[in-house]
């Protein structure tokens, strides 16, 4: 049976600038649990300890949010994202104490080995562990397999491939999912971004190519143009007769009643979000780039294009200021 990870309260927190409150998390988690979601992921958008100047401060401490969710769910497990280099094993321990039982340990697509210590530690704690490769458009299927194997050798429960820039087309998703499925013995999952309008389509392609785990969010909330929209995914899965545990009606309730009222801006593909997908830029850069464009009186499109040329990876939000500074100086 297809497993669904809801990341509204993690990736989705980018879209609301990490402002979720404990009460909102409690409400959303309760309905998602009833709607048949398998894992509810909760952390700062950039993972545990992501609350910072560079990525934006959380309004409510993520540990409080994790605790709030774990108090209301009956079936779903509570998960967290951990990016080695930002969050640490100590942060993971605190999240575990707050109720997290799943950890997705994310690295850039070529850097899986920085996660080994964290995987070993999570294993000792008996957590369900996911090896999470980001920015998979930047590597060939062969390279992705090599990195996925590092995760597999160290004991992850499945491997998640993230199209963090929302840059991939369906054939590119297919070859990546199939390559990992063919070479690894653990299942593979997929995380989409909608910058090219392909999040749902790419997720379906991933499932048809053998993915057993899929990431989605209510209202498509997420960095850039957002993630795969959960209630739409549910509808399409049903239309395609792909077996799943999701309760479509409940998801409509979760999205319309609990999540949509929290949106601070429409979750759409505007020019800047499209530029992310087109140039292969990390989706989380969007709001930071828009802010820099305002401060430096520049076009956000120019900033994003330059970031793409510089091959910046996830987490390098500080380079948005660097790019804006240099573009502004050039203009003068």
């Amino acid at each position: 049976m297809l497993k669904v990870i809801d990341t509204t309260l993690r990736d989705g927190s980018h879209a609301v600038s990490h402002s979720f409150t404990a009460e909102q998390v409690r409400d959303i988690s309760r309905v998602l649990d009833q709607a048949g979601v398998d894992i509810i992921e909760i952390s700062h958008g950039d993972g545990l300890a992501g609350s910072s100047i560079n990525y934006g401060f959380s309004k409510t401490n993520e540990l409080e949010l994790i605790k709030a969710a774990s108090e209301v769910v009956k079936n779903a497990k509570i998960g967290v994202l951990l990016l080695p280099g930002i969050g640490t094993i100590a942060d993971l321990d605190k999240a575990y104490d707050a109720g997290a039982r799943v950890v997705r340990i994310a690295t850039h697509v070529t850097e899986a080995d920085v996660a080994i210590e964290h995987i070993k530690h999570a294993k000792e704690k008996g957590m369900f562990i996911v090896g999470f490769l980001m920015m998979i458009h930047m590597a060939s299927p062969e390279k992705i397999v090599e990195q996925a194997k590092i995760f597999e050798e160290n004991g992850v429960d499945y491997i998640n491939l993230a199209d963090s820039a929302g840059h991939l087309t369906q054939n590119e998703v297919k070859e990546r999912i199939e390559a990992v499925k063919l070479s690894c013995n653990v299942p593979v999952g997929f995380h989409a971004h909608n910058n090219l309008g392909l999040a749902v389509a790419n997720s379906i392609t991933a499932i048809e190519s053998g993915a057993k785990y899929i990431d989605a969010t209510c209202c498509g909330l997420g960095a850039g143009a957002g993630n795969c929209q959960l209630e739409v995914l549910s509808a399409v899965l049903n239309r395609l007769n792909i077996e799943n545990n999701l309760d479509f009606k409940k998801l409509l309730e979760a999205s319309e009643k609990h999540v949509r009222p929290l949106l601070q801006r429409p979750q759409i593909i505007d020019a800047a979000a499209l530029m992310l997908g087109y140039s292969g830029v990390y989706s989380s850069f969007l709001l930071h780039a828009k802010r820099a464009a305002e401060i430096y009186n520049l076009s956000v499109i120019d900033i994003l294009e330059e970031l793409g040329k510089r091959k910046m990876v996830g987490g390098q939000e500080d380079m948005i200021i660097d790019v804006a500074y240099h573009l502004a100086n050039k203009k003068e």
Binding site: I53, T110, V313, Q316, Y325
Partner: protein
């Protein structure tokens, strides 16, 4: 009077680059390279005419001529080496994150550590960012300082990769203890771009007294001081102040002694270690 003789434990990238830096130095003389197997680094040291040993610290403690020892192994190995070297009266410069001795960032606190016999070099990111953090704090009083270090994937060795938490935790601590911030946070990013990117670091600080002129002067002044031992250290932008948030972006190009120029991260920690050893050597030689 000649030079002060030194030994290096750990003939990896860091140890080998240190060896080349010592060969260029006016006050330090390379005496012995110590490893555990007949590695590339041991062969290289031998071919350059230096004594080598596969006998751990033992050959060092039996050699009275060796006064200063660089330990470029691992935190775990250093915990074993440190007491032995101390008992043998060697001054130790610890390149690992073991942090038995005091953190040292030469342009900030070297002069305060007169009687120390074990100097810990913090982290590469710490050497690159703590001086700026300190300068901002002195000028404006830091409530919170956060740094983002980005290094080329190729310059992150197996030690860094296996202990990435040590980097963030040690650097954050140094931002507080030496940098003066009430609270510190460190983030490290590995970027695999080809050709490799040179090390960049962003220092953010929330300050009490946002006086741009004072902050800017302090930052430029400390950059000049660092450039004396790391010529490839430079500001990428002018210091920026937005309300009470200071942002400084710097890059570090390595000297290319043994390691490629993009690995400014390895160069700066080694250059800082040499700076510490040189000061001790000058004192011993009566040249200070």
């Amino acid at each position: 009077m000649g030079k002060i003789k030194v030994a290096i434990i750990g003939p990896g990238n860091i140890g080998t680059d240190l060896m080349y830096k010592i060969m260029k130095n006016d006050y330090l003389e390379m005496k012995m390279m110590v490893g555990i197997v007949e590695s590339e680094g041991i062969k290289r040291a031998k071919s350059l005419g230096f004594k080598t040993s596969l006998n751990g610290v033992n050959d060092i403690i039996n050699d009275d001529e060796i006064k200063i020892v660089f330990d470029a192994t691992s935190a775990k190995a250093h915990l074993e080496n440190a007491p032995i070297l101390k008992a043998a009266n060697k001054i130790v410069i610890d390149m690992t994150p073991a942090a038995i001795g005091s953190y040292v960032v030469p342009c900030v606190n070297l002069d305060e550590l007169e009687n120390e016999n074990n100097f810990n070099m913090v982290t590469c990111g710490g050497q690159a960012t703590v001086p700026i953090a300190y300068a901002i704090h002195k000028a404006a009083e830091s409530e919170y300082t956060e740094i983002v270090s980005c290094i080329a994937s190729k310059s992150a060795g197996p030690g860094t990769r296996a202990n990435i938490d040590e980097f963030t935790e040690t650097t954050a601590k140094a931002l507080e203890i030496i940098g003066g911030a009430k609270k510190g946070k460190a983030i490290i990013i590995l970027n695999p771009a080809e050709p490799p990117i040179i090390m960049t670091n962003t220092i953010y600080s929330i300050v009490k007294n946002p006086d741009y002129k004072k902050i800017s002067e302090a930052v430029y002044k400390i950059v000049n001081q660092i450039q004396k031992y790391v010529p490839g250290y430079r500001l990428r932008t002018e210091p920026m102040l937005y309300e009470n948030k200071v942002t400084v972006i710097i890059e570090v190009e390595g000297a290319g002694d043994f390691l490629p120029a993009y690995s400014g991260n390895l160069d700066i920690i080694n250059a800082a270690a040499i700076e510490v050893a040189e000061k001790i050597a000058k004192e011993r030689l009566g040249k200070l």
